[in-house]
Structures are given as structure tokens and as C-alpha cells.
């Protein structure tokens, strides 16, 4: 051990520079990771949805879980404006049942809602489907055991846990395709939903869908039913009402045999299951004007009608708080309503100008 006097300049320089080098590496990689991961700000925005939840300060008594059949079909603002329901849609593209389960677990780390509404379409998937959809759901989750388990359950054969822990390793090759948006949103991103609702105001009337393909086996996969079971248990343990719904859109096809199995499950577990396909008239949906993509998803008018219908049911069935009467929450909702109205006006203005949306949806995908 050298005494202080014996320490020469180099003895100090070497460790100092090494530490500085490690720090520089960590900071560089941290910045590059933020730069290189996809931002999902235009076009394909679904990858931004899950993370937006963590920025929302409002309490939520109703949580929706599921795929595009929830985040495009139910206006959370309409639910609040018409019924005072404070809700959030934890939806993402092709959200698989186990992902919904772990998102529920994740949500319970922050709050305990009164009602959880789960859309059942994804029950048809019993296996991990695609990396890109996995990423859009999982990357946005904050780190917890729920995220870890969600990743483990969702990974396709070619995926690795390490690529989720360090997304840099997965996205490093994006260096050659970075756009201005990547630099612009390194540190913060613009919201793409209003409490999880993704708005579209354009109209494309419902088309005639192809006849459903007969299946060899109509049994819903064991894995997804298992996670549904776990979801029911988790809700029960936390005193949450679980409601199963099938959104009122006809395609992708929802087979009667599947419907029966979900109904049986709901009966067996004393849960409510509502297939809104059979209630399209009562909702008041006019699919010549209430859809923006030929009937796959609802547009704003459709989503508001559906929200109105489902809101009535929720208000009638549960003792939910009217948050319009809670000033501190109402104030926060006012900001969302403002954004909602601005977004609607902006989309309508673009429709009026071009006859189509250019800053949202497929036309806005950046190359």
C-alpha cells in the first residue's frame, strides 16, 4: 500500500479515468437506448399505449383490458363526460390473455379498480404470436415481476429475455433508419391516447366480410383459459368485479362455439359475460358511419355510442363514483377533455382538407 506521498499522478489518473470511462459508457448507452428504441408516435402508435398509463394521475374505477377491440372502440372521455366514470383502457395491439393478466397484476401495484372489463377475443390465441406485437405491449410496462412473467409467457422462439432487459440490443440496428421523430422524442413522448382510447374520426362503411373458415377444433386454448381463470381469481381476491365482453365488431370472426365456452366459464365463475355483437342495434351503431376501417374497429362516433351503452350498464350495475363531482379529479379530466376535443377537431380539419387522415393511421407511418 502506497502512502499519500508516494502516490504519483498516474496512480490517481488511472482509476479516475477508468471510472470516468465506465460512467461515459453507461451514459452513452442509456442515451443511445432511448434514441434507438421505436417511439411509436405516428402511424403505428400502439407501442406507446401501455406506458402512458403510468403518467396518468387520476384514479380509475374501471379498467379495460384487451386488444384493439377495447382501445379503439370505447371512448373513455365519453364515459366520464356522460357518467362521471373515471376509466382507463390498458389495451394494446393483439394483447394476449396472459399479457392482459399480467397487466392487471401490474395495475394492482398502483390502484385497485372496482370493475375490470376484459375483451375475450384474444382467448383464441394459445401461443405467443409475434415479436412486434409482444414488444408493443411489453416494452411499455414498468419493471416488476409482472413484466418479467409477462415476457416469459409471451416470448416467441427467437426472442430473448436479455433483449427485453436491454432493448438496445434488439433495436441497435435502427441506427440507419432514425428519423427526426426519434431525436425529438428521446426524452419525452407525446400522448397518443386519451386514457388509453385511440381516436379515429374518419369513416369507411362496414364491408361484407368473408364467410368464417370452419375450424378443426373449436376448443379455446388451455393456456388462455388458464390465464382467464387466474384473472378471475385475482379479481376475486381483490374484491374486483370482472366483466367479460365481446366488442360489437364482427371481424375477426367470433365463433358461436367460442361464445358458448366463454358463457359456460362465466356461469361457472359467477361472472357477467356480454357479447355486444348481439346488441349492435340497442347500442345504436350504424356501421355505415360508425367505423373507420370497413367494420374492423369503431370510429369516434361509434366509440362514443358504445361508451354510452356500456357506461349506462356500469352505472346501473355498480356503485361507481361520479368523478365529475370530485374537483381534483374533474380538473385532471378537463385537461383530457380539452386534448380529446383538440384531437377530434384536428382530425376533422384534416378530413375536410384532404378527404382522409394523413397524420394518423397507415398514411402517417414514417419510413
Amino acid at each position: 500500500m502506497k502512502s499519500m506521498k508516494e502516490l504519483n499522478k498516474r496512480d490517481v489518473l488511472l482509476p479516475l479515468c477508468t471510472i470516468a470511462g465506465i460512467a461515459l459508457t453507461v451514459v452513452s448507452l442509456w442515451y443511445l437506448q432511448r434514441l434507438l428504441v421505436p417511439k411509436y408516435q405516428r402511424g403505428v402508435v400502439e407501442g406507446s399505449m401501455i406506458e402512458e398509463y403510468y403518467d396518468d394521475e387520476k384514479p380509475h374505477e374501471v379498467i379495460f383490458l384487451g386488444d384493439c377491440e377495447v382501445y379503439e372502440n370505447i371512448s373513455t372521455v365519453a364515459l366520464y363526460r356522460d357518467y362521471g366514470i373515471s376509466s382507463y383502457i390498458r389495451g394494446s395491439a393483439q394483447q394476449l390473455t396472459w399479457q392482459s393478466y399480467y397487466l392487471l397484476e401490474d395495475t394492482l401495484r398502483y390502484e385497485t379498480p372496482e370493475v375490470v372489463v376484459f375483451n375475450v377475443l384474444a382467448l383464441k390465441y394459445g401461443e405467443p404470436q409475434s415479436e412486434s406485437y409482444n414488444r408493443m405491449t411489453l416494452d411499455g410496462m414498468e419493471w416488476s415481476m409482472s413484466k418479467w412473467n409477462a415476457i416469459e409467457a409471451s416470448m416467441t422462439e427467437d426472442e430473448n429475455m436479455i433483449d427485453y432487459i436491454f432493448p438496445f440490443l434488439r433495436y441497435h440496428s435502427r441506427w440507419s433508419e432514425l428519423t427526426a421523430a426519434d431525436y425529438e422524442h428521446v426524452m419525452d413522448k407525446d400522448p397518443v391516447t386519451i386514457n388509453g382510447y385511440y381516436m379515429r374520426t374518419d369513416i369507411m362503411p362496414e364491408a361484407v366480410f368473408p364467410d368464417p373458415t370452419p375450424l378443426v377444433d373449436y376448443t379455446l386454448p388451455e393456456t388462455s383459459m388458464e390465464y382467464l381463470e387466474r384473472m378471475a381469481e385475482l379479481c376475486e381476491q381483490n374484491g374486483i368485479e370482472l366483466i367479460l365482453i365481446k366488442a360489437p365488431t364482427l371481424y375477426p370472426y367470433w365463433y358461436e362455439q367460442w361464445d358458448d365456452q366463454v358463457r359456460d366459464f362465466a356461469d361457472a365463475h359467477n361472472l357477467t359475460y356480454i357479447n355486444y355483437i348481439y346488441l349492435r342495434d340497442q347500442i345504436g351503431l350504424d356501421m355505415t358511419v360508425d367505423t373507420y376501417d370497413a367494420g374492423l374497429h369503431l370510429n369516434l362516433t361509434g366509440a362514443e355510442k358504445f361508451a354510452d351503452f356500456i357506461g349506462q350498464y356500469l352505472t346501473d350495475s355498480f356503485d361507481l363514483t361520479d368523478y365529475r363531482e370530485v374537483p381534483e379529479v374533474a380538473r385532471l379530466w378537463e385537461d383530457d377533455i380539452l386534448f380529446y376535443d383538440q384531437l377530434r377537431d384536428a382530425q376533422n380539419a384534416e378530413l375536410a382538407q384532404y378527404g382522409e387522415l394523413r397524420s394518423w393511421g397507415a398514411n402517417a407511418i414514417e419510413s
Binding site: R10, L13, L14, C17, T18, A20, G21, L24, T25, S28, L29, L32, L36, E131, D158, N160, I162, D163, F168, L169, R170, H172, S173, W175, S176
Partner: protein
């Protein structure tokens, strides 16, 4: 575990940590042995049997040989009065014969394992080409790095027989020499006398060693991931559709493969040497700026050095001075004249070396032909030496700098042409493709965007080109200054650290790894 796989990186990082932080420094060699065996075990537990048998054979025969020699020597010393010159010579000859026999037995077993595992299917394939009823291939595993560790044990057995080294009496220590994991994958082929000097001695943590090793590892990954694994994508496209990519494209293959192979192989060696250096172990250099060579002989003195010297020391020299060759040399001098006679033994020994080099590289005919083509080119250039000398003398070319560059370019092109055998992996096809450069005039295609249809974007080419220029400049520094650039950088330590950060970050960003890229194996893994 591939060198570029995350488990390998974690494995090495954990080893270095445990090595310096938690292992008494006298026992560090034991930790290295455990790590090496674990490395092999995780690759395939069956490999351990093969490497174990090879190591045990070499170990046992070395001990027997050394003990036998010692006893005979002691007997001779104790009874020197009873021996006259003739009987002493006879006694020594008997000892030498028995020693040689023991060595041959050891070689027979170890080279036999290599031959059976690696070349059985090659022999069957060759036999099938003339048989009407083809023999079926055998399902046999080829242990990772078998060529490398077998050659290490062979040189050990021969050196023991020659009496140039002392046998390692501790089997576990010897097993470490055979199985030392960084060099197990792709060499270099270490000699016992070299590696043993640092492999077993207690090692203390030396900051400079660790820093040098770390930068060397980063440099290896940079070459491998940024250049080699990127270029391999275009190379695959070009060589898998030879009918589509003839003429000028073959020249592109030559250039890309020269860069790819260099970065792949030297990158792997950099990682090997870097890891060893971080562990305080000196492993021999395997490359010395091969693309700066002015002739083929020099090239082979600079490329895969440990393999070249191995073949020279254990095939060329023993063969050249063997009694049969000496007799042949004498006979040919008498009957064919001095000029031809003195060449006969050199030619035969050289032929044997290049035949063995070709076969060592792989169990396929294109490797054999590649080896023999090297032989032809080396012999031709040797024969033409007087003509060159006359030409150089007449025009004073050797004094001109431009001529040196011409010589370097000529050697590079010649060696790159020979490497085409490895690209196309078919002798006939290689000749055909090489020929197409001279009769298919399609150079315009290279400038109409067709290079962007090979799986690489313009950004990929730009990154590869910048990296190659960077690698070239570092090599040029060594060629001009005569020392490793790390020595200069280490003196200016902040710069050293900055270069490490740049290398690490740029490799992570620009490296061709992960989804979208095939994790291509290091080329020399297969040997």
C-alpha cells in the same frame, strides 16, 4: 458458447472477477481448468471424453518416455566404464528407437481420433464418387477445436521425444494446457514450452495487463461484429447463386472475403489473446499484418503463424532430414544433377506440408486443392526468384516505394484469388468463377445499384468501409512505428479509455448481431 454470444461474455466476465477477487493466486490455474472444462461441458458433455482421452494419452506417453529416458541415462552414467564408444552408441540408438516408438504410439492414438472424427465422412464421400452403391455416412461428432488441441498434444509428444521440453507431471495442469478455453475455439496452436511459462505461474492483478487485454477483446469484437458478420451477408448471397453473380461480382467476392476472413479470424484471435492477457497469460500472436506482405512466402509467415510454424517444425524439417529423404537427395543429386537434386527433397517436403495444411483446414477436396495451389504458387515464385532479381536489378525497382505497394497489392490479389476455393467450396466451380472475371464483362452492374440487392444497405457498406479504413490505419501504425498502438494509447491513459468507450459503444451500435442478423460462427471454429 460462441465468442459473440452473451453467455460467453458473461462467462468470461464472471471468470475474471472470481479469478482475481476470490481465488488465491497460487490456485488460479485450477480455476482456469474448471472454467475450461465447464466451457467444453456446456458446448457438449461428450466432447470432454475426446479431449480427456487425447490429453491422457499424451500425458501418459510423455511420462513413460521421460522416465524411460532418465533410467537409461542413469544406467549409462552408472556403468559408463563398461561401455565402449560403439556399445554406447548402440545403447543410445536403442533408447532413441524406443522413445520414437512411444511417441509414434501417442501420435497414432491422438491423430487417429482426429482422423476418425473429422475425416471418416470425407473418405466415404470420396469413395462414393466412384462406387455404384454408395456407402452411408456415419453419424459421428466432431469435438470442438479438435484440430487445435490435437496439434498441441502432437507437438508436445514430439518435443518430449526430442527432449526439448520436460514432461508435465501434474495431469490436471497438463489438461489445462490442452483445454485452455480461449484458444480452444480457433487457436492459436500453442506450444507447451511457450504457454506453460505463464499458464501455471501465480498471477497477480496487473492493471496494465488487464487494460491491454480488455482493449484487445474490444478490438476483436469490433472487427468481428462490425465488419466480418456484416460482410458475410453479402458474401452468402454472392456465393450461393454463382450463376447470377459472375464476372465482376467474383472480384467483389474476392475483396469482401479478404476483408471478412481477416476480420473474422484476427478478431477471434484478438478476443482469445485479450482474454488470456486479462488473466495474465501470454498466448502467441497468430498474425502479423499479413496483408502488408510483399510475397506469398512472407504472407504465410504472417498469417496463421502458429499453424505455419507447426507444419514447418513438425512436418517440413523432420521430413527433409529423414534418412529416406537424405538418401533420395543423394540419389537425385547423382542422377539428376545438383540443381535438380537439391530441390527434390525441398519440393517433396513442401508438398507434404501444403497437402497437410489443406487437409487440416477441412475435410473437403476444395481445401486440399487450395493447399496444393499454395504449394504451386510458392514453388513457382521461388523458381522465378532469379528472374525477378534480374528484373529488379535492371530497373532498380526495389528502391522505388511505388513498387513495394505494387508487390503488396499483387500478393494480396493472389492470396485473395486462392481464397475463392473457400468461398465457392467446389473446385470446378471456383475455377469457373475465377475464369468468368476474364470473359464476363459486367463491371457496369456494380454501379447500377445491384450491390444493394445483396442483403446490405448503403449504410451497411459505409459502416463496413469506415471500419476497414480504421482497421487499416491501426495496422499501418504498427507497420510504420513497429509497436502496438495500445502502447502509445496507454501512455496517454485518458485517450486509451476514450478509445475503449468508442470501440465498445460503436460495436454495440453498429455490430451485426441480434435479430435480423445470423450469428455467424467464427470461421475457424470448424477446425
Amino acid at each position: 458458447m460462441l465468442f459473440t454470444s452473451l453467455p460467453f461474455i458473461v462467462f468470461v466476465a464472471a471468470l475474471i472477477l472470481v479469478y482475481y477477487a476470490f481465488t488465491p493466486y497460487k490456485e488460479r490455474w485450477a480455476l482456469l481448468l474448471m472454467a475450461s472444462l465447464a466451457f467444453y461441458f456446456f458446448a457438449d458433455p461428450r466432447y470432454l471424453i475426446f479431449i480427456g482421452v487425447t490429453a491422457l494419452t499424451a500425458y501418459v506417453f510423455a511420462i513413460i518416455t521421460e522416465d524411460y529416458n532418465a533410467k537409461r541415462k542413469a544406467y549409462l552414467k552408472a556403468n559408463k566404464e563398461s561401455f565402449d564408444t560403439d556399445s554406447k552408441k548402440k545403447y543410445k540408438n536403442t533408447t532413441a528407437r524406443v522413445t520414437k516408438l512411444l511417441m509414434l504410439l501417442a501420435l497414432l492414438i491422438n491423430l487417429g481420433i482426429l482422423a476418425v472424427t473429422k475425416y471418416t465422412n470425407f473418405v466415404i464421400d470420396t469413395m462414393n464418387s466412384w462406387r455404384t452403391e454408395p456407402l452411408s455416412f456415419v453419424n459421428i461428432i466432431v469435438p470442438m477445436g479438435i484440430s487445435f488441441y490435437t496439434f498441441q498434444t502432437v507437438s508436445y509428444s514430439i518435443d518430449i521425444c526430442r527432449g526439448t521440453i520436460k514432461a508435465q507431471r501434474n495431469f490436471l495442469k497438463f489438461l489445462l494446457f490442452v483445454s485452455f478455453f480461449p484458444q480452444l475455439v480457433q487457436g492459436p496452436i500453442s506450444r507447451y514450452e511457450d504457454l506453460s511459462q505463464t499458464l501455471y505461474e501465480p498471477k497477480k492483478f496487473e492493471f496494465q495487463n488487464v487494460s491491454y487485454g480488455f482493449m484487445r477483446i474490444l478490438w476483436g469484437y469490433f472487427k468481428k461484429l462490425v465488419v466480418a458478420d456484416r460482410l458475410v451477408i453479402a458474401l452468402k448471397t454472392l456465393t450461393e447463386s454463382p450463376d447470377e453473380y459472375k464476372g465482376a461480382y467474383v472480384f467483389v467476392v474476392m475483396m469482401l472475403y479478404a476483408a471478412q476472413l481477416y476480420c473474422d479470424f484476427t478478431g477471434g484471435i484478438d478476443i482469445t489473446i485479450g482474454i488470456a492477457q486479462m488473466l495474465g497469460i501470454t498466448v502467441k500472436e497468430n498474425f502479423n499484418l499479413p496483408y502488408f506482405s510483399k510475397n506469398i512466402k512472407e504472407y504465410w509467415n504472417r498469417w496463421h503463424i502458429t499453424m505455419g510454424t507447426w507444419f514447418t517444425d513438425y512436418i517440413f524439417y523432420p521430413l527433409s532430414v529423414s534418412p529416406t529423404m537424405l538418401k533420395l537427395s543423394k540419389w537425385s543429386r547423382q542422377h539428376l544433377g545438383n540443381a535438380v537434386g537439391k530441390r527434390v527433397t525441398v519440393y517433396i517436403s513442401c508438398f507434404a506440408v501444403w497437402l497437410a495444411t489443406g487437409i487440416w483446414h477441412g475435410a473437403a477436396w476444395h481445401f486440399v486443392v487450395w493447399g496444393l495451389m499454395n504449394f504451386v504458387v510458392i514453388m513457382a515464385s521461388q523458381e522465378l526468384e532469379p528472374v525477378y532479381a534480374k528484373f529488379h536489378g535492371k530497373f532498380h525497382l526495389k528502391e522505388k516505394k511505388g513498387y513495394a505497394i505494387f508487390e503488396i497489392a499483387r500478393t494480396f490479389l493472389l492470396m485473395s484469388s486462392l481464397k475463392l476455393f473457400d468461398c465457392y467450396r467446389d473446385v470446378g466451380l471456383t475455377f469457373k468463377m475465377f475464369g468468368s472475371m476474364f470473359y464476363t464483362f459486367n463491371i457496369g452492374k456494380l454501379f447500377n445499384g445491384s450491390l444493394l440487392e445483396l442483403g446490405l444497405t448503403s449504410a451497411d457498406y459505409e459502416v463496413a468501409a469506415i471500419a476497414i479504413v480504421f482497421i487499416f490505419l491501426v495496422s499501418l501504425y504498427k507497420a510504420l512505428i513497429g509497436e502496438d498502438i495500445r502502447v502509445f494509447l496507454y501512455q496517454k491513459y485518458p485517450l486509451f479509455v476514450l478509445v475503449c468507450v468508442v470501440l465498445l459503444v460503436s460495436t454495440l451500435v453498429f455490430g451485426a448481431y441480434g435479430a435480423g442478423f445470423d450469428a455467424s460462427q467464427f470461421i475457424y471454429n470448424q477446425f
